[in-house]
């Protein structure tokens, strides 16, 4: 029973530690993978104005190969209705990009990580790469091309080639079609988002050409050419760390009212965010481990008491205190080790279970726990360390046993 209790404690500890590691590792991996060297975003949530011109100006900078503007208005939704079935509609989040610029940031030609957190995979891309509608103050030609995500496609029964109505205001009846814009679905993309748990309200995501999204949203988005951020890719020679920091500093001086983030800054942000949550998970895990170890100490003390006579005899025939100390210490540590090793298996399955659970409840298809060899090694070292300290107490107690008293004790 002691070993079982230790095993349970250990598996809880390791599961907790693996949650702490999981988010950190995934975020860091995504940051490293990304082709974005610098990200410019606005302070607060209101946006960066003059997006198109700003991206052109930055692209002309000798250090910058591409500056891709992105609009992700998370305080807005669009209404999407299939033309073939006007009784169904979904409210979706939207994104606006300039395909020609953004495609330079796709990994393996298809993937993009949004906010270094969840992944989007585009099988189909926009046929028209330029953002024509922006010309002449939003009077240029509409491409009317849209990319939608799997969830939206499945909710509304949409396929590539279908026509949809998009609007940013509540439409009372569809006879007034001038309020809504007709688009064609040019592709369906995959995301990690599952539409479960926290995101069960998530109805879908649609990506349009930047100026067309701005026009649909109207107001400040159109009047001020508002975007949410700019992804910058630097020239090959400038990708080294020292250069990136210098260019970022220069940008900060030019645009003091925006936030300039390099990969290093993002990493620091993730480390900061995870530090606190790691502390909580570790605390829970360590409390569980302490309970398990108190158990071991308790049992060892009882075991020593039972064997007082035996220990007395050993001392009487000449075995040193040190020898007995070592024996008890190792016995206790062995229980901890066996329990820990047994605990690894439930810890592994536990961590998968927790990952699936968090994934369901956050609605993102991702691994939230990291059961890595480093984690196991680290945990075992911690367990052995704390277990050793715990084992010292019962071992120390045996040293205090007087031979005569021990021999006198009758079982």
């Amino acid at each position: 029973m002691t070993i079982i209790a230790v095993a349970i404690s250990v598996s809880l500890l390791i599961s907790m530690l693996s949650i702490a590691e999981g988010y950190r590792i995934t975020s860091l991996r995504n940051i490293q993978k990304s082709k974005e060297d610098v990200l410019i975003t606005a302070v607060g949530t209101a946006g960066i104005s003059d997006g198109h011109n700003l991206s052109t100006a930055l692209r002309n900078d000798v250090n910058i190969t591409e500056a891709s503007p992105i609009l992700l208005p998370f305080d807005r939704v669009l209404s999407v209705t299939p033309l073939k079935d006007e009784n169904r509609s979904s409210l979706v989040f939207s994104g606006g990009i300039i395909p020609k610029s953004q495609e330079k940031f796709l990994i393996d030609g298809k993937k993009l990580t949004i906010f270094d957190y969840f992944e989007v995979e585009f099988d189909d891309w926009f046929p028209t790469k330029e953002d024509k509608h922006f010309n002449n103050n939003y009077t240029g030609e509409w491409t009317s091309e849209a990319l939608i995500d799997e969830i939206l496609a499945s909710n509304l029964g949409l396929e590539v080639g279908d026509k949809i109505l998009i609007s940013s205001v509540s439409i009372f009846d569809f006879t007034n079609v001038s309020e809504a814009h007709v688009f064609t679905v040019e592709g369906i993309f995959k995301t990690d988002l599952k539409g479960s748990g926290v995101l069960k309200i998530f109805q879908g995501f649609i990506v349009l050409h930047l100026s067309e999204l701005q026009d649909i949203l109207g107001g400040k988005y159109k009047d001020y050419d508002m975007i949410s951020g700019l992804s910058l890719s630097l020239t090959q020679e400038k990708k080294g760390s020292g250069n990136v920091e210098r260019i970022a500093l220069d940008l900060k001086e030019r645009y003091p009212y925006y936030q300039i983030l390099t990969k290093k800054d993002k990493i620091r942000q993730v480390e900061r965010e995870t530090a606190m949550s790691n502390a909580v998970y570790m605390a829970i895990g360590i409390v569980a481990l302490i309970i398990g170890l108190l158990f071991v100490i308790s049992i060892m003390l009882m075991s020593i008491f039972e064997r007082t006579n035996e220990i007395g005899v050993m001392r009487a025939i000449g075995i040193s205190r040190k020898h007995i100390f070592t024996q008890i210490f190792l016995e206790s540590l062995l229980i901890v080790l066996i329990g820990a090793l047994i605990g690894l298996l439930p810890a592994y399955y536990g961590s998968i279970l927790i990952s699936n659970f968090i994934s369901e409840s956050y609605g993102i298809d991702m691994e939230f726990t990291a059961f890595t060899p480093e984690l196991i090694a680290r945990s075992m070292i911690e367990i052995v360390g704390i277990g050793s300290l715990a084992s010292l107490f019962p071992a120390w107690r045996t040293m205090k046993i007087e031979i005569v008293e021990a021999l006198r004790r009758v079982r």
Partner: protein
């Protein structure tokens, strides 16, 4: 067979077991308090606010941002006039703007992104969610820029230029009553519009990081939408409904959904929707509580089994002089229960402290939560649940050793020792 004496005899063992149980109890208290905290906070905050129904421009969930809809005032007026249960219908638009104390600023730190709500004071009804610290939540009751159903000449100079800010924003910009702050749609403050601070409020709905302000509805509409409000007049995100009798909330909600192409939700629906989002925290905490309880049970049971084994002579003697199996059984169970009770008493105190700490941490980590939101609350229910669990562990861990104790063969036991 005095349980107290038995526990005192092996003091270090009793102490260790008690500590182990107290840690398990403390962790369980903390975990259980998470569920109560979240449910309780959400419900209380929404109930206190005084808004019975929230009307959005469509939407499958009350917590997703909704579509904007036009002619907000007209619709609100129609609702009020056609349903006698409605005391007030307040059309509201919320958007994000930048603000600063100076019109021309190149220093990034001086510019703040803030959430701005536009409404019409005289249409507000009895909403209690906002506590005024100084001045008023807008002085002019009406919305002069949108008098008689149209935007007067589209000239900003017809604005009231009144603004009320929350205490966090006031503190951040170091402004007080009658000071001027500038609002602009973009972070470069290209068209800064001056507003006079007429009030400072502490809203129970602002998180410590989101700075917010109130201005008149039409003024916000103009700043955010520009010329477009002539084509698409009076856009709002939501209409807040205040009823004479909050018991009528469901009826009125149905009525609104029937008569208007909008989506209405009662505050009950919203609180249960929000509560569901935090279900994952609850489930997670219950799992942890269960696992640690199992460890505590194994701990106590093993200790008790060994305790009984140590005292076989004593138990046999007790039985020999006439004590019944029943009293021996009860004595062992009582001993086990006592250890758990001691652990419970210590554990409750540790749990209280730990729960406060966790609450503080979770609030820090989840920015954007309403102020006054507690993640952990220790309610009588939590105490009851933990007490029940303690008694269960105490009794359950005593059963096996108690059974072994009564199964002892008196003669054999006394002969073998």
């Amino acid at each position: 067979m005095n349980p107290f004496r038995n526990l005192r005899r092996r003091f270090s063992r009793t102490a260790l077991t008690t500590i182990g149980i107290s840690l398990a109890i403390a962790l369980t208290v903390i975990m259980f308090s998470i569920g109560e905290g979240i449910k309780g906070s959400v419900y209380t905050l929404l109930e206190e606010r005084g808004i019975e129904i929230y009307v959005y421009g469509g939407g499958q969930s009350p917590i997703l941002p909704g579509l904007e809809f036009e002619n907000g005032r007209e619709i609100a007026k129609s609702m009020r006039e056609n349903n006698s249960a409605i005391r007030a219908a307040s059309p509201v638009l919320t958007d994000f703007l930048y603000c600063s104390i100076l019109p021309n600023v190149s220093e990034r730190k001086m510019i703040k992104g803030i959430s701005v709500t536009g409404d019409v004071p005289e249409l507000r009804g009895e909403f209690k969610g906002i506590r005024i610290l100084k001045g008023k939540l807008l002085e002019t009751e009406s919305d002069p820029f949108f008098a008689n159903g149209s935007y007067s000449a589209m000239q900003p100079k017809n604005f009231t230029y009144e603004i009320a800010v929350n205490d966090v924003l006031a503190e951040s910009l170091k402004v007080g009553l009658n000071d001027t702050i500038y609002l602009s749609v973009d972070s470069k403050l290209s068209n800064p519009i001056p507003f006079r601070v007429v009030g400072i409020y502490e809203s129970s709905f602002e998180s410590l990081d989101v700075m917010s302000a109130y201005i008149h509805l039409s003024e916000l509409q103009y700043i955010v939408k520009g010329e477009e409000i002539l084509k698409r007049p009076d856009p709002v995100n939501v209409i807040f409904i205040d009823l004479y009798d909050e018991g009528r909330a469901d009826d009125v909600k149905e009525w609104i959904n029937e008569h208007y192409s909008l989506k209405a939700y009662t505050y009950n629906e919203i609180s249960s929707e929000v509560g569901e989002i935090f279900e994952s925290y609850e489930t997670f905490s219950i799992v942890i509580a269960v696992v640690t309880s199992i460890v505590a049970f194994l701990f106590t049971a093993t200790v008790m089994v060994m305790a009984v084994k140590e005292r076989t002579i004593e138990i046999a003697t007790t039985r020999a002089i006439g004590f019944s199996r029943g009293s021996v059984f009860k004595s062992v169970i009582l001993e086990s229960l006592l250890i758990c009770i001691f652990g419970f008493i210590i554990g409750i105190f540790i749990g209280l402290a730990g729960s406060e700490l966790l609450d503080w941490y979770l609030v820090e980590v989840n920015q954007g939560l309403p102020r006054g939101f507690d993640f952990t609350i220790i309610t009588p229910i939590v105490i009851l649940e933990v007490t029940g669990l303690t008694v269960l562990i105490g009794i359950a861990s005593g059963i096996l050793p108690a059974y072994r104790a009564i199964k002892l063969n008196i003669a054999e036991t006394m002969k073998s020792e």
